[in-house]
Symmetry: C2
Subunit: 155 residues, 2 copies
């Protein structure tokens, strides 16, 4: 067991996130901490890698909840090693591939549309492009803010 002696402020600075973000991640079960005598958080050094992984996952468009689930598969007792992180990144690599493929299909459709100027529901291939990823429900978000409620048509 490694010594848990990183304070929340140090971790925040080192990882480039705010202290409040670390609190938030802890509430969400993405990272853990122990407390010192004065009830202050103390982290084991592997928290640094965990936060990196969280940020990397977010860049790939993976939701915090999915990241949490991925982190959950890491060994709880021993400190995760290279193999563990490899498994994780291999998994995400696949997701990233799918995401890229989806956007490429969209791009191809769009290229078709540029010719006809359509982009219209009835005719446009882009509208009917393979929606597998898009409709997969609780998928991730990319590069920015919310998209809100499901677009299911209960009508």
């Amino acid at each position: 067991m490694e010594t848990a002696n990183w304070t929340v402020g140090k971790v925040a600075k080192r990882c480039g996130v705010k202290v409040s973000t670390l609190h938030f991640y802890e509430r969400r079960g993405l990272i853990r901490s122990t407390r010192n005598a004065g009830n202050q958080r103390r982290y084991k050094p592997d928290v640094l890698r965990r936060v990196s992984v969280i940020k990397a996952g977010q860049k790939m468009g993976i939701s915090l909840e999915s990241i949490r689930q991925a982190l959950e598969t890491l060994p709880g007792q021993r400190t995760p090693g290279a193999k563990d992180w490899q498994r994780l990144s291999t998994h995400w690599r696949v997701e990233l591939d799918e995401r890229i493929a989806y956007l490429e299909r969209l791009r191809d459709s769009l290229t078709g549309c540029i010719g006809c100027g359509c982009l219209s529901m009835e005719n446009c291939p882009i509208y009917n492009a393979d929606d597998k990823l898009a409709s997969e429900g609780r998928g991730p978000v990319l590069l920015d803010r919310a998209r809100g409620g499901s677009s299911t048509v209960t009508q």
Copy 2:
């Protein structure tokens, strides 16, 4: 001027969105309607294409606000024609290309990481991957829900 005789319910059904979504889009200035004697919305047929464009843009990861701005460049008086929609899709095609390129860079970095199992802040290329797109501020979202506040580190 085309006849504005689409009711909100018809448009919703045809476009696969909820009535409340159309109300919402109107409040946000993405679509417009006129009212009949009984204060009910009536739409010109080009609203169908506008909604398609909105949905296509969202699939590409473009925010509603950016979509609004794009739609704003369409002719207000005459009904937009093929040329107008072409200009729009050409513009988005570029954005989509950038987005794909960003994810590909990320994928390449990740591939490197799989070898070393790192994914860690200090060493991992993915962590320091070109963040141009990601940090461009109010960019769009992809395929799903919110990611929330900016990740600027004011410390």
